[in-house]
Subunit: 341 residues, 2 copies
DNA sequence: CTGTTAGCGCATTCAG
DNA sequence: CTGAATGCGCTAACAG
């Protein structure tokens, strides 16, 4: 097949120099409107597509700098996201990409906002953000984007902001999948319990809602939704009380919340028929629970893929100015059982 | 951070020219042994990493040509693999990669062998292969590899050949996962049936074996393994007969084989309690069966990922001479339920 | 055997 | 406003 069309070819065809073509293609000033149009037209006609290698090479004196803002590294879940980021970065390393991780507490919006501003001042070419959703944060993100630094959110979105796009899980679907599984392992008239962290947080609520909606009319009833505030004590007490009060409960959906506490309660219940338990993600406690035969299914959101895709999209955007086509990119939601481990 | 080390830097440090360094780094002949060693040492010391962009750019006059040999495009499953291949190719397109698809019947080894030879003669830089396993094929693959054209098998391996590596599914694991699911949806003493295509084919046998092994001692018995030879008639008759003879059967594992026939039989059985059915892959018949509520689970092997990874590994190998670390690359095996669709 | 040189396609000066 | 020239890191062809 033919070599693909180069900037030079369109230059000769347009009767201008390569420099001019470059200016047009990259939306830089200093080209007379009619020349610009002509060049554009020819580029379209020839179906010009820039050579990524050449571009990267030319860029390589000034390496691409991207800032990554996420919760403290102790959080296991984010470690997996990092793995995905690193994988993508490895593939792009030859092209001079430079990552700067900034760990920020999930509790303090001011800190997050400050870090964004600092990165922008330092001249990063793009930002990946995954901390909390807050007005202060929203403001900083908007300022960054306005000043030309693209921001992509991942795993947890900052809604109503000017962030370019969000890469994460389809939460209601993960709730529906949990419901589908529950309906398959339990026989029809039966009762289940739901455990969540904070129902005031969108991510937590969305799963519970997806679960409930899908189950309604199926003959499987949700007797209670427990809110444990991600604390051991609250979760433990409330769950224990509920299970004691409703001995007919056969299944538990742990949408979010303190898994350790749930496991402890379940172990202590000492029932003839074990509970059917469905969890989310693959934190160590969940994996442990699966190996012990306590947890039947866990629904995972492919954290590595979230990291991988975020970086790649940002890279594409920065280097080629290619805007993502969608606002929301959902990573695959999949089901894990002990045999999958 | 510092710019990464270039060929020129190691050249000055070694007191030789860039050409020589290039020769050493790429294992090309024409360098005195002691010079070669010195250069190698310095490269190690400086922790030299080639610049992928520059490499790709320099190569771009002579585009990378890879041949892809797979079954006819009508087969839905392979279409998904193609999607993965195309995705990777898109990412590498800027780097001048050129795909040539060759569709070959799964029945005729001679054709496959001939295509391999033809591709090698045409001077492809690498081959991806996924048709049948046969001595003739093995021979052609070995010849290709010996003459310097790397071959990677995907989805279905050619064992005992010199192919660089295999990218595909962990078949026994997929059988075990099916068993795990079956054990969770059925209560303990119960009976199930297995449907397969050809038990003489490794891929088919491996799943059945994984399923059986994992179920042994669980209280769930396999009353029969049906071999349908991927034909409607055989599958239909045998399955119907078995289900009629053993009305106590509660679950069916469709490891491989003619899904359409299975669906027809099941629909015709008219039972009060529906069967619990587990299938593999996401062919249209399976998707249909799931939507109709006949199939509970299907175990998928991420065909797109198989294509994606194969291409990337081949690219790495050709461009950077980086041999894969393993012989077998298993793609993620995941579980799909109707709610995941 | 080894050094030199001319591109690969693009971004980015610096002159006009 | 536009053209020409230079270099990114590497390969390959050509001189020595």
């Amino acid at each position: 097949m033919r070599m693909s069309v180069t900037i030079r070819q369109i230059a000769v065809k347009a009767g201008v120099s390569r420099g001019t073509v470059d200016r047009v293609l990259n939306d830089r000033p200093g080209v007379k409107p009619h020349v610009r149009e002509k060049v554009m037209a020819i580029a379209e006609e020839l179906n010009y597509v820039p050579n990524a290698a050449a571009k990267a090479l030319a860029f390589s004196k000034k390496p691409l700098h991207v800032g990554i803002i996420m919760p403290p590294r102790e959080i296991e879940f984010f470690q997996e996201i990092r793995d995905g980021i690193e994988e993508a970065a490895d593939e792009l390393k030859g092209f001079g990409i430079q990552l700067e991780y900034c760990y920020v507490s999930n509790q303090n919006p001011e800190e997050g906002a400050a870090v964004i501003r600092k990165l922008v001042e330092d001249g990063v070419n793009g930002i990946m953000f995954s901390v909390m959703d807050d007005d202060l944060i929203r403001l900083s993100i908007n300022q960054a984007v306005d000043s030309g630094v693209p921001v992509i959110t991942f795993n947890s979105d900052v809604e109503q902001s000017k962030r370019i796009c969000f890469v994460g899980q389809n939460l209601p679907q993960s709730g529906r999948i949990a419901a589908g599984l529950m309906a398959r392992v339990l026989r029809s008239p039966s009762k289940v319990l739901v455990v969540a962290g904070h129902l005031s947080i969108y991510a937590h609520r969305a799963r519970v809602k997806g679960f409930g909606d899908h189950l309604s009319g199926s003959g499987i009833d949700i007797v209670q939704v427990i809110e444990g505030y991600d604390r051991f004590e609250d979760t433990y007490e409330k769950l224990k009380e509920a299970l004691t009060r409703y001995p007919e409960i056969e299944g538990i959906y742990m949408a979010t919340g303190h898994i350790g506490a749930c496991m402890d309660v379940v172990k202590g219940m000492n029932r003839p028929n074990r509970y059917r338990i469905i969890a989310n993600d693959l934190m160590p406690e969940v994996e442990q629970g699966m190996r012990e035969g306590l947890i039947d299914f866990t629904i995972v959101q492919n954290p590595a893929q979230q990291g991988y895709r975020s970086i790649r999209m940002l890279y594409e955007l920065i280097l080629n100015g290619k805007m993502p086509e969608q606002q929301y990119y959902y990573t695959e939601t999949s089901i894990v059982i002990p045999e999958s481990l």
